[in-house]
Amino acid sequence: MRQTVEAERPAPHWEDGQTGARQRHFWDSEKRLAVVMIAPAILYIACMVGFPLVLAILYSLSDATTGDPSLHLVGLKNFRDILQDPVFRKSLGNTFIFALVSQTLVIILSQALAMALAKEFRGKWLARFFILLPWTAPIALGTIGWLWMLDSIFSPFDWMLREAGLLGTKNALLGPLSNLYWLGEPALAMTSVILVHIWRIMPLATVILLAGLSSIPQEILEAAEVDGAGFWRRHLRITLPLLRPIISIAFLFGLVFTFTDMTVVYVLTRGGPVHSTQVLSSWAFFKGIEGGDLAQGAATAIFLFPLLAGVAVLILKMARRSEVT
């Protein structure tokens, strides 16, 4: 009886017919399987990211327009042209100012917020939901809320300032006009854009830092407290150094997101007033898509590339280091 059972058991697959054996052999090779499975992803990325990237560089060296998209190379002419363009220079400067100022503030503020959220307290889930909203809601829609809040006539900020007597009377601190025109004055418009960027990226930075905080062994902090180290001493000497890699990651991602973003500027100001809040992305969009000048649009966007490459290298280095430890 036992023998028949033995005989009825399916033969081990290497004793199957020849074709079957060969097929199995093909899929059982780890290397080959790995290559076949990853091929579609690499193919897609090569076609839809790699190729367009090359195309963007080619466009920037050509005189292509939407009307005549044929690639006729003209060398570095576009770059010479846009470097002379005051709007481009303003955009380049703004891109750096918006990204660096907002992300520096985000890193400082989100540390305080992450440390608060690391503690237990009542209503934490609701606070967390509220705090995450700017990141979890679509950015274009969140920014619309700000557009209404910064309205030239109906802004609640202006209303509060008026009620406080700081605005709208003859000797008021902020001037006799009844409104500040948040998006109409260059300096205020820039401040508004930075404020919205902070609002948007802070949840991401906070959650990244929170993950970092939870990985710091509590015993070290407790030991330091027993030894008499105060809050600031513990923060500066223990928490911050241990948190440094994770802070840099939060900073780098925030930098990439604000540096390349055009949604906030597009929805809030469209680059105005008089290009005072224009950034590289929005200017590339207005030139390349709305203006139809593919070549100059591409050349404008290319200026984002060196910074992104730099950030990528830094992230790579950090990824390597974390693999070693």
């Binding site: 697959h13 199995r24 992803a41 990211v49 963007a56 909203l133 950015i139 970092g212 898509i289 984002l304």
Partner: protein
């Protein structure tokens, strides 16, 4: 003395949390109020804007649902989102599995390389991609977005899933293969059922990321009826310089909240992807 210090600590804690929670939620609260305010109340600069000075109204909501293409935008967004989810799963799941099991320098480099493509921004690609989309005859169609959105969902989702598959010990598959499963069988029958939660995460992200996207949609679509939520609401509810603030705010709020709620549940996994093992545990 000690209890006073504790009290101060608590007060600071609540102070910080309350301040930031209000800062974060305020624009959404502002949408909520505008959504139900009568126009006369909404456009009265001297009235207290924080309160309802006149009875609330559903007029804006009615206008949003019946006089605009809002529901059409929602539908378009869902079509694009679902298609992107399917494409992302088909391409990213095998790729991630392959990278997770393909040990050695090559596999690691390839993984990081794929993640880095996530950092190539739409801003750099929308000009050439708009030509490419035109070449495929997909101008002014949802197909354009379905073709292009995986450029950001695939890299990120592959990276996330890779970490997930790595956490499943290799022994399980080896055991299954000893028990008579083929290599493919071990993967499909043993590993995929174990990764349901990872795959669910990817579904949520591919969907929310495509719902958030703005630049490509703005560059490729200008026909009203083909717009998605994130461009339809900001561009179509504004006519020239006339802002229909009530419906605009209603649309923004209604479209944001559901995504935000789902996203919040999965955010921690999203962050794991970003921190890339810089945080252990």
């Amino acid at each position: 003395m000690r209890s006073l210090k504790k009290l101060m600590e608590r007060a600071t804690l609540y102070g910080i949390v309350t301040f930031f929670a209000l800062f974060s939620v305020f624009p959404f609260y502002w949408m909520l109020i505008a959504m139900f305010k009568r126009d006369h109340d909404l456009f009265n600069p001297s009235a207290n804007p924080f309160l309802f000075n006149e009875p609330a109204t559903l007029e804006h909501l009615r206008m949003l649902l019946y006089d605009t293409l809002f529901l059409k935008y929602l539908w378009n967004t869902c079509v694009v989102g679902m298609s992107v989810v399917v494409i992302t799963l088909i391409i990213a799941v095998p790729a991630a599995y392959s990278l997770a099991r393909w040990s050695g320098r090559w596999g690691e480099n390839l993984g990081i390389g794929i993640f880095l493509t996530y950092l190539v921004p739409p801003t750099l690609l929308f000009i050439p991609l708009s030509r490419l989309v035109g070449f495929f005859g997909l101008h002014e169609s949802l197909g354009a977005l379905i073709l292009v959105y995986p450029t950001f969902t695939i890299p990120f989702c592959t990276w996330l899933l890779m970490g997930f598959f790595k956490s499943i010990p290799k022994d399980i598959e080896e055991q299954a293969m000893i028990d008579g499963c083929s290599r493919m069988g071990a993967m499909v029958k043993i590993i995929f059922p174990l990764s349901v939660s990872g795959i669910l995460t990817v579904v949520v992200f591919a969907f929310t990321l495509s719902m958030h996207e703005f630049i490509y949609a703005l560059a490729f679509i200008s026909v009203s009826a083909k717009k998605t939520i994130s461009i339809g609401v900001p561009t179509e509810l504004v006519r020239g310089d006339v802002f229909r603030w009530g419906p605009l705010m209603a649309g923004a709020l209604i479209a944001s909240l559901p995504v935000a709620v789902i996203y919040t549940f999965f955010l921690d996994r999203f962050i794991t992807g970003f921190t890339m093992g810089a945080v252990k545990g």
